[in-house]
Symmetry: C2
Subunit: 304 residues, 2 copies
Amino acid sequence: MHKTLFAAALLPLLAAAAPENEPPKALAPLEIVGQAPAADWSAIAPADLLVMDLAPDAAGKARRVVIQLLPPPFTQGWIGNIRKLAAAHWWDGTSINRVQDNYVVQWGDADGEDAAKAKPLPQGLATIPQAQYTVHAAPLGWVNPMHDAYASNTGVVLGWPVSYAPDGVTPVHCYGTVGVGRNMPPDTGTGAELYAVIGHAPRQLDRNIAVVGRVIEGIEHLSSLPRGTGDLGFYKTAAERTPIRAIRLGTDVPDLPRYQYLSTESASFARYADARANRRDPFYIRPAGGADICNIPVPVRRAP
Amino acid sequence: MHKTLFAAALLPLLAAAAPENEPPKALAPLEIVGQAPAADWSAIAPADLLVMDLAPDAAGKARRVVIQLLPPPFTQGWIGNIRKLAAAHWWDGTSINRVQDNYVVQWGDADGEDAAKAKPLPQGLATIPQAQYTVHAAPLGWVNPMHDAYASNTGVVLGWPVSYAPDGVTPVHCYGTVGVGRNMPPDTGTGAELYAVIGHAPRQLDRNIAVVGRVIEGIEHLSSLPRGTGDLGFYKTAAERTPIRAIRLGTDVPDLPRYQYLSTESASFARYADARANRRDPFYIRPAGGADICNIPVPVRRAP
């Protein structure tokens, strides 16, 4: 007998016909996703992908991390810089320099703070004001009916988790979120130094730093890296850093799979979100009745 | 110049005297913890620790994970079983069998579901009803003033994050929480199969499974393990599993450091929790005004 344990409900189960006189089994969230019609999936343009190839692991296995960039109107200043950095192949030969448990993995130029050794940045990068962390006009998307500890409301807009506040809409920090490292304010970072969240959602960073994307494939190549033992999880020696072979826009990567996200305007998404908040599949005894925004991750898949 | 980046505020800074005419700098949460008087720290009894020694890593380095068990009145049925299993050395020679990204690491008998090969359990383990996931009488501790997506209220009781509901108090799932794997209800698990959370808080498991403790040291030895590629993150081959050398109660481990937690009844904890919710240290531009219960982890340290 296969061990089901506590997460069996995450596995799509065979859709066996229910015997007569037996109520239909409630579907688990991923079963709802698995049954979503093709029309409920939205294509992700290759131009909105950032593909990071790390050096192979100790066994010689390739390690690729695929990042989806935020669409307009969100944080387009930083994303413009990131497109320039990728086009200039600026990250090639840089490294992952920091892995802090339950927080972030961070990459870029390990010598970036040393004026004598820093790798020169490409010409024409924009300086972006912190006001652009929050957008004042964004379409209204799905709204999470549950309370949030950090904002008036949360929801999903154009496929992205956000918070709503009287002064605007802000992309939020969840597991897998990619953002722009910066120094002390008023610095807001160029986009050359990026991080990905590998722990519990550090929502205190919302509205304080630029979110630019999320890892949609290969996050395990970041989250399972050895933790750095220096301050803030920086590696103490160069030998501990993981080299970055290349970071490219998706349009510059041959044979990249096509990706889709479950449209947050679709009926399937509403059913999925409801099932995340109210687990009625057989493993659960007491549905919670709610879920925080980071516990309703937007489904992303390779196009079938 | 040392790179400060966005998490500099996590580092205790030198407590330089503020120049005249300059307002005192707001303290970061860990600075408040660092200044807490000795009286605000509570000892953790070695009898309430579970010490897991994994096989050394590829470089021959020891890997020890220290788990603190929940105090009464919480989930004492399962913890009684865990004490028996540790005293019987039952886990010695078992393994870590599952690592699912952004979810859990799970350990126990890899053949536990195969009646012909399962390792016999010690005599006298209790069968615990699911009603005991929630406790009906618990002391009131610190209450988080912020809304929660899963429960009427949350807080910290006797040093442990909990949810409050009209029918009782329940320990909640945060990063590092240790719980008892089980099969489908009404099974509630014996305690022989344990998991630790290595991702965003899976709060949907609250009130559906027994929380028994939390990792207080060495979680990086679990969270950085290679992810399993089978269903639910189970390893596909025995060679991928990490062997467990021994799991012992703290009283049976020579030379174990002494540990303390910041008393959640202390003024220092209240200041720390407020600072987690309202980051006023120099890195932050806009304090959130709140934090979810899993983003206010109870500070634990080795006794100085």
